[in-house]
């Protein structure tokens, strides 16, 4: 089969180091039997990635994540198999399996037991892939027991729109530890497929906010497994699309045990001929009694040609839980715009004020005020671009 051979070719072309043999063979086994996901595949119904693979991709090695030095955080590149690859997703989903087959070394971030990190860790991945170039990067983030960390992960650069970056980040939030992980994705015309695979243990808190500002195609998977009791998670996203941009957010919150809370808000503004996808699954297993699960996805379309595909999914197998989900897609409220104009704001000012307020429910989840302020500015800039 055509598609299978492309996947195999990609893997065969890789100069795999001796390390990661164990996890690679499993992933390669999976790939040998799978194809590049097409529109026939439920999880890829609205996101066509065939274009990228059709023209052929040229695998290159890349070590393009930089980081600041922060007291209490160990950061290093590693090929230690014992550390990397303990989450389960990387052998069961095509892009994650591709990543596991192809990455050369992992950036390992570690906060040792009992360490409260004061300063924020900032990871910068500047992507400058040229035509047809493809690379896979891997990150492992471990916050050990009773420790805490705040981390920003920025994707930026001006990669070619026929290139592809594949990233897989594994995150371990240990017992009674706390992690805030904020993503900013602005990759010009580039294409990004990224998976964040999170495992949380008892009494921990995990917050992640993802702000997507530009990119030809962004597929963002976030999977969170709540493996111990008394975990609180916040999973938020905000996306702005214009032109022919396509951003696809797939999330999974897996409630495996009782007494956990998950909150999820994804919001987006779509203009031009852009396409958005939100697919949010919340799974409440039979044992996960007393779960509080909340999910919402709200979208504002600024043009007649923009499309939003929103699919909230809630599957509950326990009988004593409190869960809700909702999805709305609509236009800006004309009455509200007129009300603001009647008080002296011009049309753009009124629109910007309303849309900034719309974003604020997500942005307020970011504790760093400086980051929030810079994002608000970028949102204003993108609104100006959307206007014309």
């Amino acid at each position: 089969m055509m598609t299978t051979s492309i996947l195999s070719e990609l893997v065969a072309g890789a100069k795999s180091p001796a390390s990661f043999k164990g996890i690679r063979s499993e992933a390669e086994g999976f790939l040998a039997e799978s194809r590049i996901p097409s529109k026939k595949h439920e999880d890829w119904k609205y996101t066509n990635i065939k274009r990228l693979f059709d023209n052929g991709l040229n695998l290159i090695s890349a070590e393009n994540i930089t980081f600041n030095s922060v007291d209490g955080v160990e950061v290093s590149w590693s090929t230690d198999e014992a550390l990397v690859g303990s989450t389960s997703i990387h052998t069961k989903e095509a892009h994650a399996a591709l990543n596991t087959s192809l990455f050369e070394k992992a950036l390992v971030v570690r906060v040792k037991k009992g360490t409260q990190v004061n300063d924020e860790l900032i990871l910068n991945q500047v992507i400058n892939l040229k035509d047809g170039e493809f690379t896979a990067t891997r990150v492992l983030l471990v916050v050990e027991e009773n420790a805490s960390l705040k981390c920003q992960y920025h994707y930026s650069g001006s990669p070619s729109n026929s290139s592809l970056l594949n990233n897989l980040t594994e995150v371990f939030v240990s017992r009674n530890s706390h992690l805030e992980l904020n993503y900013v994705q602005e990759i010009g015309e580039g294409n990004l497929m990224t998976t964040t695979e999170v495992e949380c243990q008892r009494d921990s808190t995990f917050t992640t906010n993802c702000v997507q500002l530009c990119g030809s195609l962004i597929r963002n998977n976030v999977n969170i497994r709540l493996k111990g009791e008394n975990i609180e998670t916040h999973l938020n996203g905000f996306y702005m699309l214009n032109g022919r941009e396509l951003f696809d957010n797939h999330t999974l919150v897996d409630h495996l045990v009782p007494h956990c809370e998950s909150n999820e808000i994804y919001r987006g503004i779509l203009a031009g001929k852009s396409t958005g996808v939100f697919n949010g699954k919340v799974f409440v297993h039979r044992d996960a009694q007393k779960t509080n699960g909340y999910q919402s996805n709200n979208n504002i379309l600024l043009s007649d040609d923009a499309t939003m595909n929103s699919k909230p999914e809630l599957e509950i197998y326990a009988d004593d839980v409190r869960c809700s989900h909702g999805s709305t897609t609509g236009q800006l409220d004309d009455d509200a715009v007129f009300y603001l104009r009647a008080r002296g704001l011009d049309e753009f000012g009124a629109t910007a004020l309303l849309l900034t307020a719309f974003a604020s429910d997500v942005l307020n989840g970011i504790s760093n005020e400086e980051l929030r302020a810079s994002l608000e500015e970028k949102i204003q800039d993108k609104l100006k671009e959307m206007r014309g």
Partner: protein, 253 residues
């Protein structure tokens, strides 16, 4: 010179003619009350003057302080000093009253060539205006009108009017649904804002409000035009006799 001159104004909404040759002249220092039965065109008049694009102006002229009102976008009308207190103020989640007023006052001061207020002066200015309508301090920090009671929303409209210091305030059924205490507070707020330089057009269903905001002129709007004008005694007569006698007189004529 008059502040507002409306000549032969016609307007429609959704293919239905509502205003049919409306005339009114308002001078600085005056308060005009416009009364009329449901569907006579009262709210259409308010919306057209404020620039609501759902209403189509099909004829006539409006001069506001020497300028053609219809040449101006809604925000320019506001900056020039026209203020509409909405019949149904809009709830705006996520935008605080304070930030809203900061943005609005900044635009209006810029337009009028006034220096911008520094944060401290702005807060002092806001405090003074809040007291004018006995607006609870907490409401100012909350999202615009979100979860406000009917009375709180109307007080918030008068508060905004005080903040923006218009030449002409149009009150669109600001009294509807208010209990007597809220009515008194709203009316007192308006009375304190009255001066020889500004003017008000008070659109109302009920004479009750006019006990508190005493008008210089009362007009009866019926079927899209003013069919009778008088002084405050006309309002009392309407309260007493309803609108039917006017309709009957018109039918006979």
């Amino acid at each position: 010179m008059s502040l507002l001159t409306i000549k032969n104004l016609s307007a429609r909404v959704q293919e239905k003619d509502i205003l049919k040759g409306f005339n009114l002249t308002v001078n600085p220092g005056e308060v005009h009350a416009i009364m009329g039965p449901n569907g006579s065109g009262k709210s259409t008049l308010a919306s057209v003057l404020a620039g609501n694009e759902s209403y189509e102006v099909t004829g006539g002229e409006v001069d506001f302080d020497g300028k053609n009102l219809f040449d101006m976008a809604p925000e320019v009308r506001a900056r020039e000093g026209l203020f509409l207190a909405f019949q149904y103020p809009v709830e705006i989640p996520g935008v605080s009253n304070v930030n809203f007023m900061k943005a609005a006052v900044a635009e209006i001061r810029k337009h009028r060539g006034l220096e911008q207020l520094v944060a401290k002066d702005f807060l002092a200015y806001m405090k003074e205006k809040k007291e004018l309508v006995e607006l609870d301090g907490k409401l100012a920090g909350r999202s615009v009108n979100e979860g406000f009671s009917g009375g709180e929303k109307k007080r918030n409209e008068i508060f905004q009017m005080a903040m923006l210091d218009p030449k002409l305030g149009i009150l669109d059924e600001t009294d509807s649904g208010l209990d007597i205490d809220a009515l008194r507070i709203v009316a007192n707020g308006v009375n304190k804002l009255r001066s020889k330089d500004n003017a008000f057009v008070v659109i109302t269903h009920y004479q009750r409000l006019l006990d508190h905001i005493v008008p210089d002129f009362v007009h009866v709007l019926y079927d899209g035009k003013i069919v009778r004008s008088g002084t405050k005694e006309l309002a009392l007569e309407l309260e007493e006799r309803g609108y039917d006698w006017i309709k009957e007189e018109l039918a006979e004529a």
